[in-house]
Subunit: 460 residues, 2 copies
């Protein structure tokens, strides 16, 4: 079955015969000819198909084709350099493959994002979601391409875990039990020894610890997989299921980490600008004016590096009335991130954070007050990546774990990374949806996930 | 920080200065010189580092370096075309970065797979697992590369689902509840309306249905993500968490599906043979003799296509005493798969299966007895992919669902793929671990998963 893809026809721009399978986006029929706009999902661009009773035998039938029908069109590709679109098809054959009734919810008009969320299984058939999910797919490929071409190992760290070192409050519990009929022990508590794994199991929110063990064998590794949080928060940036990338590099300090983050982000943006130029142009026109320039600027910019301390200095000196007063001991708020990225007019690495607000595994700096952590904040989207040099000294690490009441026993295997051939190493995490939002200008995480899972919302 | 990768040094074969970071695999010290074998995980090959007291100042210290230590070595790469290895380094500087005590479990000798499963967090530092996980990573990239270069959309279908159309018996339940303190309703049953999603949630075992909705927008899509089964079976080929690839193609029938499966598999094998030649050579030598030839033969072979009916004929005619008698109405057993692949000396597509043993969404053939399903069986590993043309006719599909007691209500959205612009479409699933076992010769799924999850086994 010969199937020409519309993307290829536009790429080649050749006067040729073609056979295209796709869906009717619009149909404008006049008495002597008509125009079908057909999309096959290979690109956001539609193929304009001109049909007339001289060249197709079912003109009257085709004139009545409805939006959403699937069709096969055969004909000649004609270059039209003076028209709005560079080419069109003059049909010699048009066949309906699948009907579509008039009550089809996706009509050729603007639908609100809220309306389309109610039709998540159909919204990919709109221009906007066609563009967004294509960019999402290509961005995922760009990430794999960056890491693999630089020799990184892709590791599939496990999702099910029994070590609840992150605090099981934030993790989903998983079980094979009938929850209406749980086996109980003598102490009236659930007898997890009877569950599939012989103990209580969770879905993890990070593959970092397992990733580190692989970095101690392969030097450079990355994960890229789904991640889960039980947060009961309904914001534009939170979902209970999302995808995350977690690279981990042996023999790499904080400066090296920032070099990699910067190089990777620029690579991904460049890749998407090249492979999805039509989709980016669409997002630039209909989602965020100036998107394309913002992305191009990023590629040619040099990311600023500033310590948390200097960042707070800058915020304090700013002539701004803050909702949250900047503090040397505290996190920085969204309003601060916005100010900082506007001040430097580009992405900013904020380094050396107060240790009390950061995680136990981060490298304690010589000042004993800060850790070698870094957040990358970008214009428009705020924090895009968070990472750190890891504490490679076993004694210091154990002390930190004690201070922060992290249970040593369930992750003793992890501590072996410091016992056997340990070294200075670093890693970061990037929420993939946040990247896709940054690349498309979409401002709600529900609109960059194929089927978002948020509190009270688990349809499809 | 300049870091040369051993893989690059071997690829370039240049006499140059180099700085390598890695781990000591062996150290043979004599009175006037010594040899360190260093591995950095970028390749299975070690860099042989020659050191002597004339060129490094800490010769006595280095002489005592233990296996497992992490080191930095600097020196001159010398080409040695007449030696076993094509090059070696003459060290000018050797520095210990991380110590490793003598009780380090991974010593330069053969460890059994069972022993190494007890040290899953360290086993990636052995030659075998270095090779296996590198091949796994490159095979994942090959899959992305095949589909993306052919215009497929990578879709992240959700893992958490509330539609238990597969039968919730085989799915893990997920909850945010404290399982020792479940909220109950008036009927004494768990009140899932109080859980995060407002109803009972599961982890799905397939993204196919959601994938189909995206194929109806993008024509060609694939998923690649983790999958979960609650099966309580301890075999060499079952794990409770594994990765799966599920492509779905609109405007594609069973023949087209087989073309794609064959092309994809050959592409992946070719890609791995090229990118992992040293790792494949290692597996060929130490895991499965003849592996490389088997893979090369696959690339140049033409896959046989045979119906289930003809396959049973062949088995019945064979002069073999079967443990399981071949039957026209039944599945084929492992022993049958083995016979068939040996008979045809290569991969075999078995098509048109009895409908009673296949899933409800598969296209019913005109004979009304079989469905347009296909399994690909390969020499050595048995079934590698399973797929089908999907039933595109809504009425036939609804009838099948009724016959098989599939609840229509929770997947009404899925049925819209047949209501609005439906068409002949097909898809398949491939267990990624099964592919990795096929590519490496490893015969136990526990040894191709970084941290396997099997019944009673959820460590790390």
């Amino acid at each position: 079955m010969k199937r020409d893809k519309i993307k290829q026809l536009f790429a080649k721009k050749e006067a040729t015969k073609a056979t295209v399978y796709g869906w009717v986006r619009t149909n404008r029929a006049q008495s002597q000819f008509g125009f079908l706009n057909v999309n096959d999902g290979s690109t956001i661009l539609n193929l304009q198909v001109v049909y007339d009773p001289e060249h197709i035998k079912n003109f009257d039938e085709v004139s009545k084709f409805r939006v959403g029908m699937s069709v096969m069109v055969e004909g000649d590709i004609i270059l039209t350099p003076d028209a709005k679109q560079p080419l069109e098809m003059h049909a010699t054959k048009v066949v309906m493959l699948g009907d579509c009734p008039e009550n089809y919810p996706i009509q050729p008009k603007r639908h609100t994002p809220e309306f389309l969320r109610e039709y998540a299984h159909l919204r990919a058939r709109t221009n906007k979601f066609n563009a967004v999910f294509r960019i999402r797919s290509v961005a995922a490929m760009a990430i794999h391409s960056y890491f693999q071409s630089n020799g990184y190992l892709y590791v599939h760290t496990p999702l099910i875990t029994c070590a609840d070192c992150e605090g099981s409050d934030q993790m989903f519990k998983v079980t094979t039990f009938d929850m209406n009929n749980l086996p109980k022990g003598d102490d009236k508590k659930v007898d997890f020894s009877k569950d599939l794994f012989g103990k209580q199991a969770f879905i993890t929110g990070s593959g970092q610890l397992q990733g580190e063990t692989f970095a101690m064998a392969f030097s450079d590794i990355y994960t890229f997989g789904p991640t889960f949080r039980t947060e009961n928060s309904n914001t534009k940036t939170h979902a209970n299921e999302f995808w995350m990338i977690e690279p981990e590099m042996a023999f790499c300090d904080l400066q090296g980490l920032m070099d990699i983050e910067e190089e990777m982000l620029k690579y991904v943006v460049k890749y998407v600008l090249k492979e999805c130029s039509d989709e980016i142009a669409f997002c630039d026109q209909f989602i965020e004016k100036g998107l394309k320039k913002r992305l191009e600027d990023l590629v040619s910019s040099s990311f600023v590096r500033i310590t948390h301390h200097d960042c707070i200095d800058l915020l304090k000196k700013a002539n701004v009335k803050w909702e949250f007063e900047p503090s040397y001991d505290d996190d920085i708020a969204k309003e601060h991130e916005r100010y900082i990225t506007e001040h430097f007019n580009g992405p900013v690495f904020i380094t050396d954070w107060p240790k009390d607000i950061k995680a136990w595994y981060m490298k304690v700096n010589p000042d004993n007050k800060t850790v070698a952590a870094v957040d990358l904040v970008v214009p428009g989207s705020g924090e895009l990546m968070g990472g750190s040099q890891r504490e490679e000294n076993l004694d210091t690490l154990l002390k930190r774990m004690e201070e922060l009441h992290v249970d040593k026993e369930p992750i003793d295997w992890y501590l072996d990374t410091r016992r056997y051939g340990g070294n200075i190493h670093s890693g970061f995490g990037m929420g993939f949806e946040r990247l896709v939002m940054y690349l498309t200008g979409v401002d709600n995480i529900r609109d960059v996930l194929p089927y978002p899972r948020t509190p009270k919302n688990c349809e499809y």
